[in-house]
């Protein structure tokens, strides 16, 4: 899951978002094992949110004749996760990056698809903010969530 490139159309945009969801789900594995207590519960909750969106996207793409990209066995992490601090930093990164893919889908969608893309962008931006608070990272917010740096 890197920066989204401009997708070619609605189906490509949603397929890109699906690859981001796969990677996010995968990343919460190494994140979760480094966390405990409330943070671990929040990681489980976040992972479940990404699984719900993955399932909805697979259904959406397969029922409208789109190509469903395949999940991979593993994903390269941007940095090693060795302790609580690096796990929380990765959680921030995962949510920020997933938000970026849904933001990239907004121009390619209308109606219910756009509503869902916006809901995902907002939810992941919120999760990134909550992870920053847990990690003690300030400021808690970024001016343009999901916008490529």
């Amino acid at each position: 899951m890197t920066q989204p490139t401009a997708p070619a159309g609605p189906t490509a945009a949603l397929a890109d978002a699906l690859t981001a969801e796969y990677a996010a789900i995968w990343a919460y594995g190494p994140i979760g094992v480094r966390l405990s207590g409330a943070a671990r519960a929040a990681a489980r909750d976040a992972e479940a949110a990404h699984r719900r969106r993955r399932d909805a996207l697979v259904l959406r793409l397969s029922t409208t004749g789109g190509t469903v990209p395949a999940d991979r066995a593993g994903y390269a992490l941007p940095f090693p996760v060795t302790d609580r601090a690096s796990a929380l930093r990765l959680a921030v990164e995962v949510e920020d990056r997933a938000a970026a893919f849904w933001r990239a889908a907004l121009p390619h969608t209308t109606g219910a698809d756009r509503d869902q893309a916006l809901a995902a962008l907002v939810e992941y931006a919120l999760r990134a903010t909550r992870w920053r608070r847990t990690a003690g990272i300030t400021p808690l917010t970024v001016p343009f969530p999901g916008r490529p740096a």
């Binding site: 938000a99 933001r103 121009p107 916006l118 919120l126 917010t141 969530p145």
Partner: protein, 149 residues
Amino acid sequence: MLRAGALLALGGAAGSLAGCGLFDRDDPAPGPDPLAPLVDESLRLAAGLRAAAGAHPALADRLTPIAEAHQAHAAELARVIGTPLPSAPAPTPSDPAAADPDAALAALREAERAARETATKACAAAPAERAALLGSIAAARATHVEALK
């Protein structure tokens, strides 16, 4: 007709000429850009946050980045609309910052919640080229509610 169209397209002066009957106008003058109220709203939110930061210096570290985000939103919206950002100070927020810090934060959260709704509706209705910016603004406002807790 082309000539009249070109003259009208010169912009601001067209409205004041409308009453004098020199030109037969068959096109309605373009209305204000639908995003114009969002510029004002962003500037109002920034002003409210700065006022609260002035009244409660202990909150300044939390409030200032959020005020700056609203200012950046206003600038970006004005750029997209193609109007200069109003350089005059923004209208004073409707309520002076509450004397109690908790009440001040609660009022700011409420303002962000309402503003998030505005941006969500604007994103849903926006043409493709504006959807991503409005999505980021809606997400930012949602994270502000969280950061003001």
